[in-house]
């Protein structure tokens, strides 16, 4: 199953239309598939350990939320999944991170990041036009097809097309914060990733825009696996299928979202979700 999914992803890398159709037809078969399998993960910033012996399975075509107080290591953990922490000097990863059964540290980092996209806490559009922002990932990956179509398709998937279709040549900075964040999502979606990592994507946005992005995540589920770090427990409860609670670098509890929020098994989880700390 895992290798089949992998093969498909390489052949249809730049054909999102085709893959979306394919996914919906095989959605039931992929229901139980695991995208990421993380075993005994330890992470160090220099001598300081930030993640301790973490085990987590991230199922395909679902939204997995990571919650926990500030500094509990959830962002650090998320950033190990596309090896973004490698940019930071003096960091070290131990353990096993399997994407579709393959260890990500043996993969080419460019290929990995093409399959595992990321949206950051603050919108970070490039100082380019809206069009060029979306086309950026395609261009650097040497895509030689019709850019216009994919840019349009990506903006539509990010629910931004209607708002910007007449201003594609304008600077991305002319957009509002929420539009910029959706532009960043469109930019990540343009290279058709299998997984989308969202690092507190709504923390700088107002509630209306937040609702739009949550709606968007719901629609993306049929083509994409998502992992979202959030401080907002209501958001985790609304938008995710599975929730993982982290504390001091350790995974405390992981289960289906309704279960974790209604009948948590660990007293620390209960204390956190009822607002007794954090």
């Amino acid at each position: 199953m895992a290798s089949a999914a992998q093969g498909k992803s390489t052949t249809t890398r730049f054909a999102p239309h085709a893959r979306a159709a394919e996914v919906s037809s095989t959605a039931s078969a992929k229901e139980a598939a695991l995208r990421f399998q993380i075993s005994d993960l330890n992470f160090f910033y220099g001598p300081k350990q930030a993640v301790f012996g973490l085990n987590l399975k991230i199922p395909a075509n679902k939204v997995t939320a990571l919650i926990g107080p500030s500094g509990c290591g959830k962002s650090t953990f998320l950033r190990t999944l596309n090896r973004m922490n490698e940019i930071i000097r003096n960091t070290r990863v131990e353990g096993e991170i399997l994407l579709d059964g393959q260890e990500i540290r043996t993969m080419d980092v460019v290929g990995l990041r093409r399959r595992v996209g990321m949206v950051f806490q603050r919108p970070n559009p490039f100082p380019k036009s809206i069009y060029d922002n979306v086309a950026y990932g395609l261009r650097i990956n040497g895509y030689k097809g019709r850019l216009d179509d994919l840019v349009e398709h990506s903006l539509k998937r990010a629910a931004l097309w209607e708002e910007v279709k007449d201003y594609l040549k304008k600077s991305a900075f002319a957009l509002s914060g929420g539009q910029q964040q959706r532009l960043c999502i469109a930019r990540a979606l343009a290279i058709d990733p299998e997984v989308l990592l969202l690092d507190e994507p709504c923390s700088a946005l107002d509630p209306v825009t937040t609702a739009k992005i949550e709606e968007l995540m719901f629609q993306l589920k049929d083509s994409c696996t998502m992992a979202i770090v959030t401080h907002n427990m209501q958001q985790a409860a609304r938008a995710s299928d599975y929730t993982a609670f982290m504390l001091d670098g350790k995974l405390i509890e992981h289960s289906e979202t309704p279960k974790l929020f209604t009948t948590p098994t660990d007293p620390r989880t209960e204390a956190y979700i009822t607002g007794r700390f954090g």
């Binding site: 940019i87 100082p127 650097i140």
Partner: protein
């Protein structure tokens, strides 16, 4: 008692405010004084011939500094070709790649190079580019000015690159861009306006340098063909003409100063325009 104290505070406030105001006014006044002086003394000698003709021999009125203007432009072109790429690349290295110790050494050395008196740079250019070929040349002058352009460009490039938010780099790398690709396609364009400004300002600064040219490009009463001959340049020409005993040459020197200052001012204004047009790269 408390009234006295209040009066003292208010008085001190007024005095200090006036002092800083006067100092600020002086800063502006100095520039306008110089500019006014140059215009008063030099504007009369400015005409088309000044820009196009060679200097006339002593005793004949008229003539111009055409060769010096062209010479200065050629020297600046050489300085730009030799100094700017090195400065830019070193700045990129410092801001994006450098480790701790090595970067510290480079940064420190750059500051030292910036502090080397220009006459010493002139002597150095003389030793490496004039002595071996046994004659002064435009190339040697360009080399001397190129040395002076490097440190300013390095530091301004580094500053502007550091001002680019790290989130832009992460955004590009998360899309699968390599480090160099990220720098070339996202970081440098984001800092482009600022870097360009730094380059123009560094050229504007060396445009007025006289000492290094005395030992390298020297001077020339005629047009200087090609790059291997000594060439006239505005600063050296002003220096020679201002020291001469002839009134007519004094007027020409004033006019030369006016042209030189105008060039620098235009470069500065150009930078402002570029920076304003590019706008800020900060998001949200």
């Amino acid at each position: 008692m408390s009234n006295l104290r209040l009066a003292w505070r208010k008085g001190l406030n007024i005095v200090m405010l006036s002092l800083t105001g006067v100092a600020a006014f002086l800063v502006v006044a100095v520039l306008f004084l110089i500019l006014g002086f140059l215009i008063y003394n030099g504007a009369k000698s400015l005409n088309w011939a000044f820009f196009t003709q060679l200097p006339k021999p002593v005793g004949e009125t008229g003539g111009g500094m055409g060769n010096a203007i062209v010479g200065s432009l050629k020297l600046l072109l050489l300085a730009a070709v030799m100094g700017l790429p090195v400065g830019l690349m070193a700045g990129v290295y410092l801001a994006e790649f450098g480790g701790k110790t090595f970067s510290f050494v480079i940064r420190y050395t750059t500051d030292l190079l910036n502090g080397v008196p220009s006459i010493v740079i002139g002597i150095f250019a003389f030793a490496v580019a004039v002595v071996p070929v046994k004659h002064f040349s435009t190339l040697a002058g360009g080399l001397a000015l190129g040395f002076m352009v490097i440190p300013i460009t390095v530091r301004s490039t580094e500053e502007f690159l550091r001002a680019v938010p790290g989130s832009l780099r992460e955004g590009a790398m998360a899309l699968g861009a390599s480090k160099w690709r990220t720098i070339a396609t996202v970081v440098l364009p984001a800092a482009g306006g600022g870097i360009l400004t730094g380059m123009l300002l560094s050229l504007a600064r060396v445009a007025g340098e006289t000492a290094p040219l005395l030992f390298s490009a020297f001077s020339n009463t005629y047009w200087s063909p090609g790059w291997g001959q000594p060439t006239a340049s505005l600063p050296v020409m002003i220096y020679r003409y201002a020291l001469s005993p002839y009134d007519d040459w004094h007027r020409q020197a004033w006019a030369g100063g006016l042209v030189l200052l105008s060039l620098v001012l235009i470069a500065n204004l150009g930078c402002r325009l570029i920076l304003n047009r590019r706008g800020s790269f900060r998001s949200v």
